[in-house]
Amino acid sequence: MADIKLSGIRKSYGSSEVLHGIDIDVKDGEFVVFVGPSGCGKSTLLRLIAGLETISDGELQIAGQKVNDLTPSQRKIAMVFQSYALYPHMTVYQNMAFGLTLGKKGPLGGLLGGGENKKMIEEKVHKAAASLKLEPLLKRYPRELSGGQRQRVAIGRAIVRDPNVFLFDEPLSNLDAALRVNTRLEIARLHQELEATIIYVTHDQVEAMTLADKIVVLNDGYVAQCGTPLELYHQPANKFVAGFIGSPSMNFLEATVTDIGPEDIEVVLSSGKVKVRLPVLPGDLALDARVSIGIRPEHLQEGSGEVFRMSSRVKVVEQLGEASYLYLENGEDDPFCNEPFCVKTNGHSSIRTGDSVDICAALSAVHVFNASGIALTRTTTDSRYIAPRRA
């Protein structure tokens, strides 16, 4: 059992606070991914959990025990570093066995070796090496390995220790694209095999979406949202998460509330030309309040449907084969106020730069955020636009 519970975790460096009270629950065997933009405190949070930094305030529990003041090894965690951190003067075998020679403390604080017996260590290392296909490399030095192989050694070194929790800090960011996909699958397989609790830091949302049981989105030292990948995708709690999850990211339009019903609101876009009723609970929204409307590129289509029957000129077309992204321009007649408005169409679309297109989206695909960026609850039951219930 290795549940992890963070309550009110804070971290300050000198007078500047970088984590402002983090609460997260991680269940035993869960794969949790921390994502967020650079500098939001992901690595710091991971290092706090590892015990490499002291916690300024709050409580960290692992397996029901408060571990704030325990050393990393007492917490029974294993960390895989972005830089791999292999010992350059040791072979792959020695790298993997190094932490094991101290299972029990020998004399002089383990200086003279002792501890776990040699055979057991050999067995463990070979087992881990086999599962990572490292066996032919055991006698090599880290400088004689490729990036992907080094990464596997680093993971192997964590596995042999049989920890309660695995911590990964951007383990794939030094690998090239193809290798990244392979290693990602490898990590997913390992998680199933080991049934271990894993906390994984990344800024790559594809990694986050594909690997995670649960994603924690961090923004500027706060938890922006915490949930399953599909929950974050379909029911973002705020504008930050809505914009962060999904690629290309969600389109936002500014609008003003013109009518408030019991289970829907009517808004007019800032151009003044488009007026629609949206199926969201108004909460404490007032008339004339400014709201943001969010629509994902993949929920927009060519044609004229329920909402936003608008035409606009296409500024850029990006053809990816299976799909094309149209970036629309601010025309006279269109309401798109800020960034380029992105629409995902099918790959054989014949639309070219400069063409005029009509686009539309289903009402239930639309997100609404109030002036402080908090999402209004959507009432839709359309299964295409909401996350499946958790089992």
């Binding site: 932490g99 004689e144 070194r157």
Partner: protein, 277 residues
């Protein structure tokens, strides 16, 4: 363009070669002349020994007569002991100063920096008093203690810089693995700073081996004299036995040369490659 580019390395090499010749010339002179007869030394000091002038009388005198083996042993044990202390203590202190933030660490670092700037010989009188009151006068221990103190500041300064360059991830990975701080030091830090240790070793041992000052004031006795002191017995007020002096100087080069060759093999290696990234 092309000419000036060519001239660059040529000029540099010319400079270096002439410097090497100037630096090596006296040493070669000592070695040549130690194999010549006394007459030949004075008649043509610059010529190589030939069949007529070749003479091993100096070596015979040095190795046969006096207690030169004792001097050699003294020099070697003082140098090796001081070297060991400077390297082990220096590396440990450097690791402590580089890795841990403890109260007074800045003061200790400053104190050591002062040790680099002020030559230890300025304190000779007080050192002599301390050694006398410790009852260590005329012992090799006195020399080892003084040389360790002399070598430590620079050793710590250099090693601290190197230790600071070892990526933090390596130490942290070891800590996550439950490795004790002692073992991190012995199994990770020391192997990685081996080139720096070799540099420090060379810098430390040469002045110790060549020193005449402290053996003269702290351990001038017949049993504790070092090679440099021992040679002095051939240099008299009226007569100097040049054959013996040159022969003993030539012999004195050998051990230090061997030590240097041992360490210089370490100097070249870049050991950190493959550590991270």
């Amino acid at each position: 363009m092309r000419n000036s580019r060519r001239l660059g390395p040529l000029a540099v090499h010319a400079l270096l070669i002439s410097y090497t010749i100037i630096a090596l010339f006296p040493i070669l002179l000592i070695i040549f002349n130690s194999f010549k007869s006394r007459k030949a030394i004075f008649k043509s000091p610059l010529s190589l020994p030939d069949a007529n002038t070749f003479d091993l009388v100096g070596f015979e005198k040095v190795l046969g007569s006096s207690s030169f083996d004792v001097y050699f042993l003294n020099s070697i044990s003082v140098t090796v002991m001081s070297l060991a202390f400077v390297l082990v203590l220096g590396a440990m202190a450097a690791w402590a100063l580089a890795e841990y933030d403890f109260p007074g660490s800045d003061f200790v670092a400053l104190f050591l920096a002062i040790g680099i700037m002020i030559p230890i010989r300025l304190g000779s009188v007080s050192l002599l008093k301390i050694i006398v009151s410790l009852g260590l006068i005329n012992t090799l221990t006195a020399l080892v203690l003084v040389y360790t103190a002399q070598g430590l500041p620079l050793a710590i300064f250099i090693l601290r810089e190197f230790i600071a360059q070892i990526p933090d991830d390596l130490k942290e990975a070891a800590r996550c693995d439950g490795v004790t701080e002692y073992r991190i030091f012995w199994s990770i830090i020391l192997p990685l700073i081996r080139p720096a240790l070799a540099t420090v070793a060379v810098f430390t041992m040469i002045p110790v081996w060549n020193d005449l000052w402290f053996p003269l004031i702290l351990a001038p006795g017949e049993d504790t004299a070092t090679v440099t002191l021992g040679i002095q017995q051939f240099i008299g007020q009226y007569v100097t036995d040049w054959n013996a002096v040159l022969a003993s100087l030539t012999l004195a080069i050998v051990p230090i040369l061997i030590l240097y060759l041992v360490f210089s093999r370490q100097l070249i290696r870049g050991l950190t490659s493959g550590a991270v990234k």
